[in-house]
């Protein structure tokens, strides 16, 4: 066999590290996804008590979910809260990121620190602190407190993602717009924002998912009569260990997947970090 034919195929021992890496990644991914897969598969089990592997196939539990007025109300409330929180934190987070990212002043540094603070504080501590503080006064309604808490929790993510997006754009484009006569505001609105559109979209998706799944802080400050869906499920499983919960969990995973898919259509997921 001559040398030309042999060189066309990389020898096995050179391919081995690549294959090992691929296999390692596959194992880790499976490990991460397996619990979710088990819950999703169990949700089709005709048995009422939670069991895996499922002994049959039925969509009965999804029908029961749709018929359960309390779960549907909790889902609607969670959705409404998540949409409002996402809108507010995307707006504030983007504005703060654009304003602060190039500044070198002490104030800018303080703002950066303050915005990232909710990530550092444990959820339980934040929940108790909000409860302690806002129970002193009846001036602010419970929904406003809940919305404010969710905006606080999602703002760091929006800020971080949009800042990363801005840093990846070319500063000179905005400067050339200003040198051609645009004011700073016009330059930002017509030049910078369209450039970081993908990052803003990714940030909004992340904020939505964070707010929709939030349970720890919400446990403390949820208003009466209207729990969010994660809080409802948390209380539900204290008393019942049945397949209905698996169906509800699968529904939440599907919503998250749809959001992530929409995000990947509009922006590369690599922009998230």
């Amino acid at each position: 066999m001559d040398n030309l034919t042999r060189r066309a195929r990389t020898p096995l021992r050179r391919r081995l590290p690549g294959m090992a890496l691929w296999a390692g990644n596959a194992c880790i991914s499976l490990f991460l996804v397996a619990p979710i897969l088990i819950v999703m598969l169990s949700s089709f089990n005709p048995k009422q008590y939670f069991a895996f592997p499922p002994t049959g196939f039925t969509l009965r539990w999804y029908a029961e979910l749709a018929a359960n007025a309390e779960i549907v109300a909790a889902f609607a409330f969670s959705l409404k809260l998540a949409i409002l929180a996402t809108a507010a934190s995307t707006l504030f987070g983007t504005a703060m990121a654009v304003a602060v990212h190039r500044a070198r002043s002490l104030a800018a540094g303080a703002v950066r620190g303050a915005v990232l603070a909710p990530l550092v504080v444990p959820g339980v501590v934040l929940g108790i602190a909000l409860l302690l503080y806002f129970s002193q006064t009846d001036a602010i309604g419970p929904f406003a407190v809940l919305l404010g808490a969710h905006v606080c929790l999602t703002l760091p993510f929006v800020f971080r993602i949009v800042t990363a997006g801005i840093e990846s754009t070319d500063r000179s484009i905005e400067e050339s717009a200003m040198s051609l006569g645009a004011s700073r505001a016009v330059a930002v609105l017509t030049v910078t924002l369209p450039l970081i559109k993908g990052s803003i979209f990714a940030a909004a998706t992340f904020a939505f998912l964070t707010s929709f799944d939030e349970v720890v802080v919400t446990l403390f400050i949820a208003p009466p009569d209207t729990p969010t869906l994660p809080v409802y499920i948390f209380h539900y499983i204290q008393y019942n260990s049945d397949t209905l919960v698996a169906a509800a969990a699968t529904a939440m995973v599907l919503i998250g997947s749809v959001a992530a898919w929409l995000c990947s259509r509009k922006a590369s997921l690599g922009r998230l970090y």
Partner: protein, 356 residues
């Protein structure tokens, strides 16, 4: 002539019989339903637990009360730990008016003076409660009792255990679920009960810890959540477990291959308490609600659905619920105030010796 006489006599006999049959029902109704006061739409905030308990509570307590008393009840879903934290955090401006919670949390709140004591004048149904449901000073009242139970997987265990000592049998090696001390209500109950069975008591807890150390080879894990317990037992990973009676009943009724072991020794009880938060702005409504919850008819309805023992002497449970419920009269209840004092040292000892 004779026919008319007989008809009159029969009619009177029938009327008398009807009255005699109706009397207990009328008496029961008169006793069970307190004079409904019209609160004219006054609104207060209470809590309920989630899942099937919460559904039963809303059906048999919240909705009937709102109708009968013309009041509005805003319901927060919260369990013992959350309720305790919320009442402690909002003590200057209570966000909840009447709370229901496990008596472990109620003891903590009572120690902090956060309850408005109940009085027989305002809450007459207190007189109908069994002795162990009332507390000195009536700071709160227990409205239900659950018991610790031993449950086993029917497919894995052929001869069910008959005594607590069967737990130490080596054939159960690595297959028993024991409640974790810090993370479940059953934990301290089991520890104290084991201490008592081995010659100790709540204040002399060493025999309890020794028993748990002896039990270590048989333990598969120290469970911390209801879901974890239900999954491990119904899948057969664990063969036996110590649980609470209402969760066991719910799992058995949903068809899992699990059964209750009938033990010779009486189990220990732990209850749920209802209390009025100090500083509430709706005291009269709170007292009417508390009285409603402690009434025989309401307890019979909601606790038959939740499968728990009532504390009103006159409450009657459905036949479906009776097999799972232990008669609270004559059983022992754990003293949570005393447990709360010793808990930190027990937890420390637990983490060092048992879960190591």
């Amino acid at each position: 002539m004779r026919n008319a006489d007989m008809r009159c006599g029969r009619r009177r006999l029938l009327a008398g019989a009807a009255a005699a049959l109706a009397a207990p029902a009328i008496l029961r109704a008169a006793r069970a339903q307190p004079a409904a006061i019209d609160f004219q739409g006054e609104r207060m905030v209470v809590n309920a637990f989630g899942g099937s308990f919460g559904a039963a509570w809303k059906q048999y307590v919240i909705e009937p009360f709102q109708k009968q008393f013309n009041a509005q009840l805003a319901v927060v879903d919260a369990i013992t730990g959350e309720v305790t934290a919320k009442v402690l955090a909002s003590r200057n401006n209570p966000q909840l008016d009447v709370v229901i919670l496990g008596d472990s949390g109620a003891a903590v709140l009572a120690q902090q003076g956060l309850f408005e004591p109940l009085t027989e004048a305002a809450v007459p149904n207190l007189r109908e409660l069994i002795d162990i449901a009332r507390l000195p000073g009536d700071v709160y009242a227990e409205f239900l009792f659950a018991s610790e139970v031993l449950v086993y997987n029917k497919n894995q265990v052929s001869t069910p255990p008959t005594s607590w000592n069967d737990l130490f049998d080596p054939k159960y090696k690595q297959h028993i679920l024991i409640p974790d001390l810090g993370n479940s209500v059953s934990g301290p109950v089991f520890l104290v009960h084991q201490a008592m069975l081995n010659g100790g008591s709540l204040t002399n807890i060493d025999p309890g810890f020794e028993a748990l150390t002896r039990l270590k080879p048989n333990t598969i894990t120290y469970w911390t959540s209801m879901q974890q317990f239900a999954n491990m037992l119904s899948s057969g990973d664990a063969w036996l477990g110590i649980w609470s009676s209402d969760r066991a009943a719910s799992l058995i009724q949903s068809g899992a291959p699990v059964a209750l072991a009938h033990l010779k020794d009486k189990p220990m009880l732990f209850g749920n308490a209802i209390g009025t938060v100090k500083g509430t702005k709706h005291l009269k409504l709170a007292q009417a609600y508390t009285n409603f919850v402690l009434s025989a008819e309401v307890q019979g309805n909601v606790l038959s659905a939740a499968i728990l023992a009532p504390t009103n002497k006159n409450a009657v449970l459905s036949d479906a619920a009776k097999p799972f419920v232990v008669d609270p009269r004559g059983a022992q209840v754990i003293d949570w105030a005393a447990v709360a004092k010793d808990m930190p040292s027990w937890l420390d000892r637990w983490n060092r010796t048992i879960t190591q």
